[in-house]
Amino acid sequence: MTSAALRSRAWKLLEMITTPLLPSDYLDLVSPLRAGADLRGRIEAVHPETGDAATLVIRPGRGWRGHTAGQYVRIGVDVDGRRLWRAYSLTSPTNRQDGRVTITVKAIPDGKVSNHLVRRVKPGTLVQLDQPTGDFVLPKAKPAKVLYLTAGSGITPVMGMLRDVEFDDVVMVHCAPRPQDVIFRDDLHDLVADKKLRLTEVHTDTDGVLDIARLGELVPDWAERETWACGPAGLLDAAEEFWSEHGVEERLHTERFRPGIVVAGDGGEVTFSATGKTVDADGATPLLDVGEEAGVLMPSGCRMGICFGCVTPLKAGAVRDLRTGEITEAEPGVLIQTCVSAAAGPCDIQR
């Protein structure tokens, strides 16, 4: 018998011992970061970067496959007892010797997760992780000239790149409201002092918002550079337009944070994606009724919100709890009670 087969037999026997739990339920008690466990990480330190940004040093579990500079990771963190998932760029180099990785988080106004991570989270906290992903990465072949165009927390994936690979000729244009808002400012100026980077800071409080049309004044040879841009949608839209006007759009690589912001409204178009049906729903009719009316096979139970027999994944959009008015937005793994939830804007129900 091969060792894999032997292991699987041993595991089956263990399952018989621990039923109805799994052996991993017990192992998680003592070793949550072991190989074979659901991927988690332990926050080991939190370093403030600016008044509203901090870098978290995370030791990922043994199953971590490593990242490529510029990629992001989804992390699931319990805020007020509720698990919320967000994506953050990895800011550590890929060859860090101690096996830790870092993400750098900027607290956005009213941001539940970002404020929690920047201001409240304690070292020792376990977080859930996904494998790193994203195609905002550097090519295998080194380009001769590089431009990084960033704004605000858009600097985070680029910092991961800067720390990872050295190029002969690198220019960065970074926008932030004030000098003290520039994340990684000391690190950037160290790189400048070592002549590894040419940096232009645009302080939008005093200089105004960067006008892409005048990029040539800051970086005369911008069109010859392989460019990675990350920042607010306005900046990226303008950049994409500018690059394609000049016929060099293939040199521009962009990364957009927070695609598709959910705006909670009253009713909307409901898609039952498994069945492939789409219907209009008002903001007062339970989605269970909406689905049944449309001929979708919906699980149901008490029809008054107490039995949890109708819970269904919400894949996109937002719904409103008809009892409390609470809005629930789609996130991976979010289930809703269709009998007491109505559409709060367009949404996608997995039925």
């Binding site: 109805p20 027999g309 819970v311």
Partner: protein, 372 residues
Amino acid sequence: MTAIDPTAHLTAEQIEELGRELDAIRDEVIASRGEKDAAYIRKVISAQRKLELVSRGVLLFSFFPPAWLIGTAGLSVAKIMDNMEIGHNILHGQWDWMRDPKIHSTTWEWDHVSPSDQWRHSHNELHHTYTNVIGKDNDLGYGIMRVDEDQKWHPFHLGQPLWNFINACFFEYGIAAYDLELGKNLHKRRRKNPEFRARAKAVGRKIRKQVLKDYVIHPLLSGPSFLTTLAATFTANLVRNIWSHSVIMCGHFPEGVQVFERRSIKGETRGQWYLRQMMGSANISGSRAMHFMTGNLSHQIEHHLFPDLPSNRYAEVAVKVRALFEKYELEYVTGPLPKQVFSAWHKVFRLSLPNKKPKVKTPDREQELVAA
């Protein structure tokens, strides 16, 4: 349905107002659910797992009588924790708001022969929606007992104290049979219904796994303690069964609890639904340890009003609910466990016999009628 309706003094407006006040209590808890609650359930789950591990470990040496005693006691408590404070409450969706896929009503499985999804249907949906409605809520007597004077007596009911005792000893099997609606489904052609067969198969699988674990694998692991470990596991299951049966009997069977007719719930308003839960449930008074070991079903009234609120919050909710009972002059049925268990058993015995012929105009009865 009972001779004197204890809610007859309430106007329709009062009942709706009562409903609004209860909704406000619920909203307050929902708005304040947070980190502390999540830490509570995680702590309980981890304590249960550790207790079970240690107890099973001690039972490996159960040929040594003190080890048998400690291991059996620990395993009994672990099984009770698993079924009551953890399993029952998670399967109610009380912790779904945490969005932790491991502590969620759709994924949880418990140390019980009834698979959790079948139990969720019969318990959360049928029992909690139609609480104490004769003919709709099969929890009333589990289909084998007569629990109200208005139910027709049959000579079969003479044996109900015995059925109830057997049910208590093998409660988890009784629940599994009950979730399968075995009584109904064993008839003739229903047996062949593919949906029923699939569910019966699932129960069979669960029973096999549970029995194999408790009565084969763990005793075998104990080697020389094979027989004593077997006896210990059997005892722990027996203790757990009798305990949960007793707690559950106290929820709806003691004297003073109302049952309802099918037609009384037609077009029921939210206020009326709440009122039915209030009148159809009974509590157990006692220490914090008692509340914990009953899975907070000692706060059965509060649980029936708000089945999806986290169990650790029922104690604080109970104070407010009890004040509402007083305000609306309703009877809050509660008492210590022995008293409530006795009351429930008393009813089981009393109703095993046909109703006494109503005496014509006893003075007592006349007074009550005048009062009403």
